[in-house]
């Protein structure tokens, strides 16, 4: 099973992939409309927004949690250490 390198989501069906392209290592939620992968800052903003919208977290707490989670993922391991 493939796991998204950017957010960690398991990818099990074609619709989990950007434009249903199963050769990609990142998921549909980590892609831009054209199918390319979102940047670190785009993804950080997206994950922060998700935590606020669905769980009601404080903005700064959500941003820090998102950053800590991203730091563990293959796509961002080095970026986050900067």
């Amino acid at each position: 099973m493939k796991t998204c390198i950017s957010c960690g989501m398991p990818m099990t069906k074609p619709s989990d992939f950007p434009l249903e392209d199963e050769s990609k290592d990142y998921c549909v939620y980590c892609a831009r409309p054209d199918g390319s992968m979102q940047s670190y800052s785009e993804k950080l903003a997206g994950m922060t927004g998700f935590l606020i919208r669905t769980q009601g977290l404080d903005e700064e707490a959500a941003r820090q949690l998102a950053a800590r989670n991203m730091a563990k993922l293959p796509a961002w391991k080095t970026t986050a250490a900067d």
Binding site: M9, P10, T12, F50, L51, I52, R53, T54, Q55, G56, L65, R68, N69
Partner: protein
């Protein structure tokens, strides 16, 4: 590269210690447990445990990360094909139920855990809130859902479930809180968040009057003074 038998044995011991710690934590609590308890439960020396986990914090973090990862993945697997809120809630409880004693410890102790362990715990909630939000947005177009933000509806649900689990000794002393109360809590919650459309209201009222319940109504309600 092929692993040596010594490497394999080391990995197996590590797996075994993680599983033993998971079971011990489930029964006795996480932060109450000492490294020596795990060593004793696993039937190994104190030194063997320290060889794999330098500190208690390292052991706790790895056990919680490993099992929270399993719970989050299981919940995601169960919830990904759900198309109604009720299905998502059932999938959520089914995912927890398989790990209920350990999950309950996390409900009680999560604020006190090492930061990485606590993050892993919050990630379970994110796996649920992802599907909850996805389905709720679709439902809003089809059904009457209380006009509250996704986060409010989600937290209302999580708060309810976690309250029952945290105080399981009072709600189900045999330890099986979800088996005993899960379906009822889903039913109550659904009634709470779905308000009736005019059509549904008329249908219900026609049904109630058929059953003769009109006779039981207080006269003031009939006079059009319904306060509700």
């Amino acid at each position: 590269m092929k692993k040596t038998s010594r490497q394999l044995q080391k990995e197996q011991t590590r797996e075994f210690l993680l599983k033993t710690a998971y079971e011990y934590f489930s029964e006795h609590g996480i932060l109450n447990t000492r490294m020596s308890d795990i060593a004793q439960a696993a039937g190994v020396s104190h030194g063997t445990v320290f060889l794999h986990f330098a500190t208690q914090e390292a052991l706790v973090t790895e056990v919680v990360e490993t099992y929270c990862g399993k719970i989050a993945l299981r919940t995601h697997e169960l919830a990904k094909s759900c198309t109604s809120i009720q299905e998502v809630l059932s999938a959520h409880l089914e995912g927890i139920q398989e790990y209920e004693p350990f999950y309950t410890r996390l409900v009680i102790e999560n604020r006190l855990l090492p930061p990485a362990a606590r993050d892993a715990w919050i990630n379970i909630q994110s796996a649920v809130s992802f599907h909850f939000g996805r389905v709720l947005e679709r439902t809003r177009g089809e059904k009457q859902v209380a006009a509250l933000p996704v986060s409010a509806l989600f937290n209302l649900w999580i708060g309810l479930i976690h309250h029952y689990l945290a105080n399981g000794d009072l709600f189900a002393p045999d330890g099986k809180v979800l088996e005993r109360h899960g379906d009822t809590l889903i039913e109550y919650y659904m009634k709470l968040i779905h308000y009736e459309t005019e059509e549904e209201k008329h249908g219900r009222e026609a049904h109630e009057s058929q059953k003769g319940e009109m006779l039981l109504r207080a006269p003031w309600r009939e006079a059009g003074r319904s306060a509700f």
